[in-house]
Symmetry: C2
Amino acid sequence: MKPAAPFAYEGLERLFHERGRLAVCTCLIANSDGMSFKALQDACALTDGNLNRHLHALAETGVVDIARLRGQGRPTTIVHITKSGRARFLAYIDALEAVVRAVNESEPERAHDSSPLRLATS
Amino acid sequence: MKPAAPFAYEGLERLFHERGRLAVCTCLIANSDGMSFKALQDACALTDGNLNRHLHALAETGVVDIARLRGQGRPTTIVHITKSGRARFLAYIDALEAVVRAVNESEPERAHDSSPLRLATS
């Protein structure tokens, strides 16, 4: 059955769709051992304030886990993506992939030299 | 050279990243002959006000073209994506695809039964 509104894309969960949070989650998925606040900030090019705000939103909804490690020196903040956060984020990525797919199906003549995605199964 | 901030995703142009506008542009790419306001609204599940607002933003930046056709009955509004709008939107889609690719590369064990994208080249 064809959906009533095929382009509504309701699976694009707002929590993840915000560009900064999308960057943070993609980065945490790639670094499943966790990342320090500083490393995350550098990888995503976010300001202190922005990264703090995004981490707060993600921690509040159980997507990330924030631990403060205290050693000899300054405490280090380590961020992990949680198991449920990972599952929710991957569902969002599936929705994103549906958008990309819809566009690529409409534009079959596009050259895709820069797109290993399409070459993954070859 | 590795980029300084590999997860910054600066190509995710804000104009297109907003969920409603992403839906509208994806829909217009799939319907290159143009769409009526009503058809666009139904396909994207947007309210009158929201669709108007998004079309205004997209027309102001030259991404879409809005024509009012007057015949015997009520005038019909027909929306097209412009040539430059199409090019800009496809560049945004490439950035989106880079995000999906980054996640999929981090998660090679994901089952992808629902993903014809990866099967497109087989």
